[in-house]
Symmetry: C2
Subunit: 191 residues, 2 copies
Protein backbone atom coordinates (compact mmCIF):
# COMPACT_ATOMS: atom_id res chain seq x y z
CA UNK A 1 0.00 0.00 0.00
CA UNK A 2 1.00 3.65 -0.38
CA UNK A 3 2.96 4.89 2.60
CA UNK A 4 0.68 7.74 3.56
CA UNK A 5 2.87 8.81 6.47
CA UNK A 6 5.65 9.53 3.96
CA UNK A 7 3.36 11.90 2.08
CA UNK A 8 4.25 15.44 3.22
CA UNK A 9 0.64 16.48 2.67
CA UNK A 10 -0.46 14.00 5.31
CA UNK A 11 1.59 15.75 7.96
CA UNK A 12 -0.59 18.85 8.19
CA UNK A 13 -3.55 17.55 10.19
CA UNK A 14 -5.67 20.67 9.77
CA UNK A 15 -4.82 21.33 6.13
CA UNK A 16 -6.54 20.67 2.84
CA UNK A 17 -4.89 17.26 2.70
CA UNK A 18 -6.51 16.18 5.97
CA UNK A 19 -9.89 17.40 4.77
CA UNK A 20 -9.54 15.40 1.55
CA UNK A 21 -8.53 12.33 3.53
CA UNK A 22 -11.57 12.69 5.80
CA UNK A 23 -14.04 13.18 2.96
CA UNK A 24 -12.59 10.27 0.94
CA UNK A 25 -12.60 8.00 4.00
CA UNK A 26 -16.20 8.87 4.70
CA UNK A 27 -17.27 8.30 1.09
CA UNK A 28 -15.49 4.93 0.92
CA UNK A 29 -16.91 3.74 4.25
CA UNK A 30 -20.44 4.76 3.25
CA UNK A 31 -20.19 3.01 -0.12
CA UNK A 32 -18.78 -0.16 1.43
CA UNK A 33 -21.68 -0.16 3.90
CA UNK A 34 -24.25 0.41 1.15
CA UNK A 35 -22.94 -1.94 -1.55
CA UNK A 36 -20.46 -4.31 0.05
CA UNK A 37 -16.75 -3.83 -0.46
CA UNK A 38 -16.62 -5.92 -3.62
CA UNK A 39 -18.97 -3.54 -5.42
CA UNK A 40 -17.00 -0.37 -4.65
CA UNK A 41 -14.56 1.22 -7.13
CA UNK A 42 -12.17 4.16 -6.95
CA UNK A 43 -14.23 6.22 -9.44
CA UNK A 44 -17.38 5.62 -7.35
CA UNK A 45 -15.59 6.77 -4.19
CA UNK A 46 -14.25 9.82 -6.01
CA UNK A 47 -17.70 10.74 -7.26
CA UNK A 48 -19.26 10.39 -3.81
CA UNK A 49 -16.43 12.39 -2.22
CA UNK A 50 -16.55 15.07 -4.88
CA UNK A 51 -12.88 14.69 -5.78
CA UNK A 52 -11.08 13.69 -8.95
CA UNK A 53 -10.29 9.94 -9.19
CA UNK A 54 -6.65 10.86 -9.83
CA UNK A 55 -6.53 12.40 -6.35
CA UNK A 56 -7.30 8.98 -4.90
CA UNK A 57 -5.02 7.04 -7.24
CA UNK A 58 -2.13 9.43 -6.52
CA UNK A 59 -2.50 9.32 -2.76
CA UNK A 60 -3.54 5.73 -2.09
CA UNK A 61 -2.72 3.88 -5.30
CA UNK A 62 -5.50 1.26 -5.06
CA UNK A 63 -8.82 0.74 -3.35
CA UNK A 64 -7.41 -1.96 -0.99
CA UNK A 65 -4.72 0.54 0.09
CA UNK A 66 -7.41 3.16 0.77
CA UNK A 67 -9.44 0.69 2.84
CA UNK A 68 -6.31 -0.35 4.73
CA UNK A 69 -5.66 3.33 5.52
CA UNK A 70 -9.20 3.68 6.87
CA UNK A 71 -8.78 0.57 9.00
CA UNK A 72 -5.44 1.86 10.32
CA UNK A 73 -7.01 5.20 11.26
CA UNK A 74 -9.82 3.40 13.07
CA UNK A 75 -7.20 1.48 15.03
CA UNK A 76 -5.87 4.81 16.35
CA UNK A 77 -9.08 5.18 18.38
CA UNK A 78 -8.49 1.97 20.37
CA UNK A 79 -8.82 2.35 24.16
CA UNK A 80 -5.80 3.24 26.31
CA UNK A 81 -4.34 0.56 28.60
CA UNK A 82 -5.62 0.68 32.18
CA UNK A 83 -3.07 -1.57 33.89
CA UNK A 84 -5.80 -4.08 34.75
CA UNK A 85 -6.04 -7.21 32.57
CA UNK A 86 -9.78 -7.67 32.91
CA UNK A 87 -10.54 -4.03 32.18
CA UNK A 88 -8.15 -3.98 29.22
CA UNK A 89 -9.68 -7.12 27.70
CA UNK A 90 -13.22 -5.89 28.34
CA UNK A 91 -12.45 -2.44 26.87
CA UNK A 92 -10.91 -3.96 23.77
CA UNK A 93 -13.74 -6.47 23.39
CA UNK A 94 -16.23 -3.59 23.48
CA UNK A 95 -14.10 -1.57 21.07
CA UNK A 96 -13.75 -4.51 18.65
CA UNK A 97 -17.52 -4.93 18.63
CA UNK A 98 -18.04 -1.20 18.01
CA UNK A 99 -15.42 -1.22 15.26
CA UNK A 100 -16.95 -4.23 13.47
CA UNK A 101 -20.45 -2.77 13.86
CA UNK A 102 -19.58 0.49 12.11
CA UNK A 103 -20.73 0.92 8.51
CA UNK A 104 -18.56 -1.45 6.49
CA UNK A 105 -16.81 -2.70 9.63
CA UNK A 106 -17.07 -6.39 8.86
CA UNK A 107 -16.26 -5.79 5.21
CA UNK A 108 -13.05 -4.05 6.23
CA UNK A 109 -12.21 -6.81 8.64
CA UNK A 110 -12.81 -9.44 6.00
CA UNK A 111 -10.90 -7.43 3.41
CA UNK A 112 -13.08 -9.18 0.90
CA UNK A 113 -12.46 -6.34 -1.49
CA UNK A 114 -9.57 -8.04 -3.25
CA UNK A 115 -10.82 -9.94 -6.30
CA UNK A 116 -7.58 -11.89 -6.39
CA UNK A 117 -7.46 -14.83 -3.98
CA UNK A 118 -3.85 -14.17 -2.93
CA UNK A 119 -4.57 -10.49 -2.31
CA UNK A 120 -7.64 -11.46 -0.33
CA UNK A 121 -5.58 -13.83 1.81
CA UNK A 122 -3.02 -11.09 2.35
CA UNK A 123 -5.82 -8.73 3.42
CA UNK A 124 -7.17 -11.30 5.87
CA UNK A 125 -3.71 -11.86 7.29
CA UNK A 126 -3.28 -8.13 7.76
CA UNK A 127 -6.63 -7.84 9.54
CA UNK A 128 -5.83 -10.74 11.83
CA UNK A 129 -2.39 -9.28 12.47
CA UNK A 130 -3.95 -5.96 13.44
CA UNK A 131 -6.41 -7.44 15.91
CA UNK A 132 -3.79 -9.86 17.26
CA UNK A 133 -1.33 -7.04 17.89
CA UNK A 134 -3.91 -5.08 19.88
CA UNK A 135 -4.63 -7.99 22.19
CA UNK A 136 -1.00 -9.15 22.32
CA UNK A 137 -0.05 -5.73 23.70
CA UNK A 138 -2.53 -6.19 26.55
CA UNK A 139 -1.27 -9.71 27.29
CA UNK A 140 2.38 -8.58 27.18
CA UNK A 141 1.66 -5.78 29.66
CA UNK A 142 0.03 -8.29 32.03
CA UNK A 143 3.04 -10.61 31.76
CA UNK A 144 5.33 -7.66 32.55
CA UNK A 145 3.30 -7.06 35.70
CA UNK A 146 4.03 -10.67 36.70
CA UNK A 147 0.54 -11.98 35.88
CA UNK A 148 -0.24 -15.14 33.87
CA UNK A 149 -2.69 -14.03 31.19
CA UNK A 150 -4.42 -16.42 28.78
CA UNK A 151 -2.74 -17.15 25.45
CA UNK A 152 -3.51 -15.07 22.38
CA UNK A 153 -5.18 -18.14 20.85
CA UNK A 154 -7.62 -18.31 23.74
CA UNK A 155 -8.38 -14.60 23.44
CA UNK A 156 -9.10 -15.05 19.74
CA UNK A 157 -11.28 -18.14 20.35
CA UNK A 158 -13.18 -16.75 23.31
CA UNK A 159 -13.44 -13.00 22.69
CA UNK A 160 -12.71 -12.05 19.09
CA UNK A 161 -14.28 -15.04 17.29
CA UNK A 162 -17.72 -14.84 18.97
CA UNK A 163 -17.90 -11.07 18.41
CA UNK A 164 -16.93 -11.48 14.77
CA UNK A 165 -19.37 -14.34 14.23
CA UNK A 166 -22.25 -12.51 15.90
CA UNK A 167 -21.68 -9.34 13.87
CA UNK A 168 -21.36 -11.24 10.58
CA UNK A 169 -24.58 -13.16 11.25
CA UNK A 170 -26.42 -10.27 12.95
CA UNK A 171 -27.23 -12.23 16.09
CA UNK A 172 -29.47 -10.35 18.54
CA UNK A 173 -28.28 -9.09 21.93
CA UNK A 174 -24.75 -8.54 20.68
CA UNK A 175 -24.11 -5.38 22.67
CA UNK A 176 -21.35 -3.85 24.78
CA UNK A 177 -22.48 -5.76 27.89
CA UNK A 178 -22.19 -9.01 25.96
CA UNK A 179 -18.75 -8.12 24.58
CA UNK A 180 -17.45 -7.19 28.04
CA UNK A 181 -18.88 -10.38 29.55
CA UNK A 182 -16.66 -12.44 27.24
CA UNK A 183 -13.56 -11.02 28.95
CA UNK A 184 -14.87 -11.87 32.42
CA UNK A 185 -15.89 -15.39 31.34
CA UNK A 186 -12.46 -16.08 29.85
CA UNK A 187 -10.59 -14.92 32.95
CA UNK A 188 -12.97 -16.86 35.23
CA UNK A 189 -12.39 -20.04 33.22
CA UNK A 190 -8.61 -19.66 33.45
CA UNK A 191 -8.40 -18.76 37.14
CA UNK B 1 -34.72 -20.84 -4.70
CA UNK B 2 -35.81 -23.54 -7.14
CA UNK B 3 -37.45 -26.48 -5.44
CA UNK B 4 -35.17 -29.19 -6.74
CA UNK B 5 -37.04 -31.96 -4.93
CA UNK B 6 -40.12 -31.12 -7.01
CA UNK B 7 -38.17 -31.76 -10.18
CA UNK B 8 -39.02 -35.29 -11.34
CA UNK B 9 -35.55 -35.60 -12.87
CA UNK B 10 -34.05 -35.22 -9.37
CA UNK B 11 -35.83 -38.34 -8.15
CA UNK B 12 -33.73 -40.78 -10.15
CA UNK B 13 -30.50 -40.88 -8.16
CA UNK B 14 -28.54 -42.97 -10.64
CA UNK B 15 -29.83 -41.28 -13.78
CA UNK B 16 -28.55 -38.60 -16.12
CA UNK B 17 -30.09 -35.94 -13.92
CA UNK B 18 -28.03 -37.05 -10.91
CA UNK B 19 -24.89 -37.06 -13.03
CA UNK B 20 -25.59 -33.52 -14.23
CA UNK B 21 -26.21 -32.41 -10.68
CA UNK B 22 -22.93 -33.93 -9.50
CA UNK B 23 -20.87 -32.41 -12.31
CA UNK B 24 -22.46 -28.97 -11.89
CA UNK B 25 -21.99 -29.09 -8.11
CA UNK B 26 -18.34 -30.00 -8.56
CA UNK B 27 -17.74 -27.26 -11.13
CA UNK B 28 -19.41 -24.62 -8.96
CA UNK B 29 -17.53 -25.67 -5.82
CA UNK B 30 -14.20 -25.65 -7.66
CA UNK B 31 -14.82 -22.22 -9.16
CA UNK B 32 -15.91 -20.76 -5.83
CA UNK B 33 -12.73 -22.12 -4.26
CA UNK B 34 -10.55 -20.75 -7.05
CA UNK B 35 -12.10 -17.30 -7.54
CA UNK B 36 -14.28 -16.54 -4.54
CA UNK B 37 -18.04 -16.82 -4.80
CA UNK B 38 -18.52 -13.23 -5.92
CA UNK B 39 -16.50 -13.86 -9.09
CA UNK B 40 -18.48 -16.92 -10.19
CA UNK B 41 -21.25 -16.78 -12.79
CA UNK B 42 -23.70 -19.33 -14.18
CA UNK B 43 -22.03 -19.29 -17.65
CA UNK B 44 -18.64 -19.94 -16.04
CA UNK B 45 -20.04 -22.90 -14.07
CA UNK B 46 -21.70 -24.23 -17.22
CA UNK B 47 -18.48 -24.01 -19.19
CA UNK B 48 -16.48 -25.78 -16.48
CA UNK B 49 -19.14 -28.47 -16.13
CA UNK B 50 -19.46 -28.92 -19.88
CA UNK B 51 -23.20 -28.26 -19.90
CA UNK B 52 -25.37 -25.62 -21.50
CA UNK B 53 -26.05 -22.58 -19.27
CA UNK B 54 -29.77 -23.08 -19.89
CA UNK B 55 -29.50 -26.45 -18.14
CA UNK B 56 -28.42 -24.63 -14.98
CA UNK B 57 -30.93 -21.80 -15.33
CA UNK B 58 -33.78 -24.26 -15.87
CA UNK B 59 -32.92 -26.49 -12.95
CA UNK B 60 -31.68 -24.03 -10.33
CA UNK B 61 -32.83 -20.64 -11.57
CA UNK B 62 -29.97 -18.59 -10.11
CA UNK B 63 -26.44 -19.07 -8.86
CA UNK B 64 -27.44 -18.49 -5.19
CA UNK B 65 -30.05 -21.24 -5.59
CA UNK B 66 -27.41 -23.57 -7.00
CA UNK B 67 -25.03 -22.81 -4.12
CA UNK B 68 -27.85 -23.35 -1.62
CA UNK B 69 -28.53 -26.75 -3.21
CA UNK B 70 -24.86 -27.66 -2.81
CA UNK B 71 -24.92 -26.57 0.83
CA UNK B 72 -28.09 -28.57 1.46
CA UNK B 73 -26.55 -31.69 -0.08
CA UNK B 74 -23.48 -31.25 2.10
CA UNK B 75 -25.75 -31.08 5.14
CA UNK B 76 -27.03 -34.58 4.29
CA UNK B 77 -23.63 -35.96 5.25
CA UNK B 78 -23.83 -34.69 8.85
CA UNK B 79 -23.03 -37.31 11.52
CA UNK B 80 -25.76 -39.47 13.06
CA UNK B 81 -26.78 -38.83 16.68
CA UNK B 82 -25.07 -41.08 19.24
CA UNK B 83 -27.25 -40.46 22.29
CA UNK B 84 -24.32 -38.87 24.15
CA UNK B 85 -24.24 -35.06 24.34
CA UNK B 86 -20.46 -34.72 24.38
CA UNK B 87 -19.97 -37.12 21.47
CA UNK B 88 -22.72 -35.46 19.45
CA UNK B 89 -21.27 -31.98 20.00
CA UNK B 90 -17.74 -33.17 19.27
CA UNK B 91 -18.84 -35.03 16.12
CA UNK B 92 -20.72 -32.00 14.85
CA UNK B 93 -17.85 -29.67 15.70
CA UNK B 94 -15.51 -31.87 13.67
CA UNK B 95 -18.03 -32.09 10.85
CA UNK B 96 -18.55 -28.29 10.81
CA UNK B 97 -14.80 -27.79 10.56
CA UNK B 98 -14.54 -30.31 7.72
CA UNK B 99 -17.51 -28.72 5.95
CA UNK B 100 -16.08 -25.19 6.19
CA UNK B 101 -12.64 -26.41 5.15
CA UNK B 102 -13.83 -27.93 1.88
CA UNK B 103 -13.19 -25.99 -1.32
CA UNK B 104 -15.48 -22.97 -1.14
CA UNK B 105 -16.78 -24.03 2.28
CA UNK B 106 -16.44 -20.64 3.93
CA UNK B 107 -17.75 -18.87 0.86
CA UNK B 108 -20.87 -21.03 0.99
CA UNK B 109 -21.29 -20.40 4.66
CA UNK B 110 -20.93 -16.68 4.19
CA UNK B 111 -23.25 -16.73 1.20
CA UNK B 112 -21.31 -13.73 0.00
CA UNK B 113 -22.34 -14.53 -3.52
CA UNK B 114 -25.37 -12.27 -3.48
CA UNK B 115 -24.47 -8.84 -4.86
CA UNK B 116 -27.62 -7.40 -3.33
CA UNK B 117 -27.31 -6.56 0.38
CA UNK B 118 -30.76 -7.92 1.26
CA UNK B 119 -30.14 -11.16 -0.62
CA UNK B 120 -26.81 -11.45 1.11
CA UNK B 121 -28.46 -11.02 4.50
CA UNK B 122 -31.05 -13.64 3.58
CA UNK B 123 -28.24 -16.01 2.59
CA UNK B 124 -26.46 -15.40 5.88
CA UNK B 125 -29.68 -16.00 7.81
CA UNK B 126 -30.20 -19.26 5.95
CA UNK B 127 -26.65 -20.42 6.70
CA UNK B 128 -27.03 -19.55 10.36
CA UNK B 129 -30.40 -21.29 10.42
CA UNK B 130 -28.88 -24.41 8.94
CA UNK B 131 -26.05 -24.65 11.46
CA UNK B 132 -28.37 -23.69 14.33
CA UNK B 133 -30.85 -26.41 13.41
CA UNK B 134 -28.11 -29.05 13.41
CA UNK B 135 -26.98 -28.15 16.91
CA UNK B 136 -30.50 -27.49 18.20
CA UNK B 137 -31.41 -31.07 17.30
CA UNK B 138 -28.54 -32.33 19.47
CA UNK B 139 -29.55 -30.09 22.39
CA UNK B 140 -33.21 -31.08 22.09
CA UNK B 141 -32.29 -34.76 22.20
CA UNK B 142 -30.26 -34.16 25.39
CA UNK B 143 -33.18 -32.32 26.99
CA UNK B 144 -35.47 -35.23 26.09
CA UNK B 145 -33.05 -37.54 27.90
CA UNK B 146 -33.48 -35.35 31.01
CA UNK B 147 -30.09 -33.63 30.69
CA UNK B 148 -29.44 -29.89 30.97
CA UNK B 149 -27.43 -29.00 27.87
CA UNK B 150 -25.92 -25.55 27.24
CA UNK B 151 -27.99 -23.02 25.31
CA UNK B 152 -27.72 -22.74 21.55
CA UNK B 153 -26.14 -19.29 22.01
CA UNK B 154 -23.33 -20.82 24.05
CA UNK B 155 -22.78 -23.53 21.45
CA UNK B 156 -22.54 -20.86 18.73
CA UNK B 157 -20.16 -18.71 20.81
CA UNK B 158 -17.96 -21.53 22.03
CA UNK B 159 -17.94 -24.09 19.21
CA UNK B 160 -19.18 -22.67 15.92
CA UNK B 161 -17.73 -19.14 16.14
CA UNK B 162 -14.11 -20.16 16.88
CA UNK B 163 -14.17 -22.80 14.12
CA UNK B 164 -15.60 -20.29 11.66
CA UNK B 165 -13.12 -17.58 12.67
CA UNK B 166 -10.13 -19.91 12.46
CA UNK B 167 -11.10 -21.20 9.03
CA UNK B 168 -11.77 -17.70 7.66
CA UNK B 169 -8.41 -16.46 8.94
CA UNK B 170 -6.50 -19.70 8.23
CA UNK B 171 -5.18 -20.05 11.78
CA UNK B 172 -2.75 -22.92 12.23
CA UNK B 173 -3.54 -26.04 14.28
CA UNK B 174 -7.21 -25.86 13.41
CA UNK B 175 -7.74 -29.61 13.12
CA UNK B 176 -10.25 -32.23 14.19
CA UNK B 177 -8.65 -32.58 17.63
CA UNK B 178 -9.03 -28.85 18.15
CA UNK B 179 -12.66 -28.86 16.99
CA UNK B 180 -13.54 -31.76 19.29
CA UNK B 181 -11.79 -30.12 22.23
CA UNK B 182 -14.20 -27.17 22.00
CA UNK B 183 -17.10 -29.48 22.86
CA UNK B 184 -15.31 -30.88 25.90
CA UNK B 185 -14.28 -27.40 27.10
CA UNK B 186 -17.84 -26.09 26.80
CA UNK B 187 -19.34 -29.00 28.76
CA UNK B 188 -16.58 -28.78 31.41
CA UNK B 189 -17.28 -25.06 31.87
CA UNK B 190 -21.01 -25.69 32.30
CA UNK B 191 -20.78 -28.66 34.64
Amino acid sequence: MADVSADPRARRPGGRSARVRAVVHRAAADLVAERGADQVTVPAVAERAGVNPSTIYRRWGTLPALLADIAAQRADTAPEPTGDLHDDLANHAAWTLADLSRPGGVAFFRAEVAPDVDERRAGLRECLQRVSTRFETILDAARERGETPPSLERVLDRIVAPIYFRVVFSLPETDETYARSLAAALLDADS
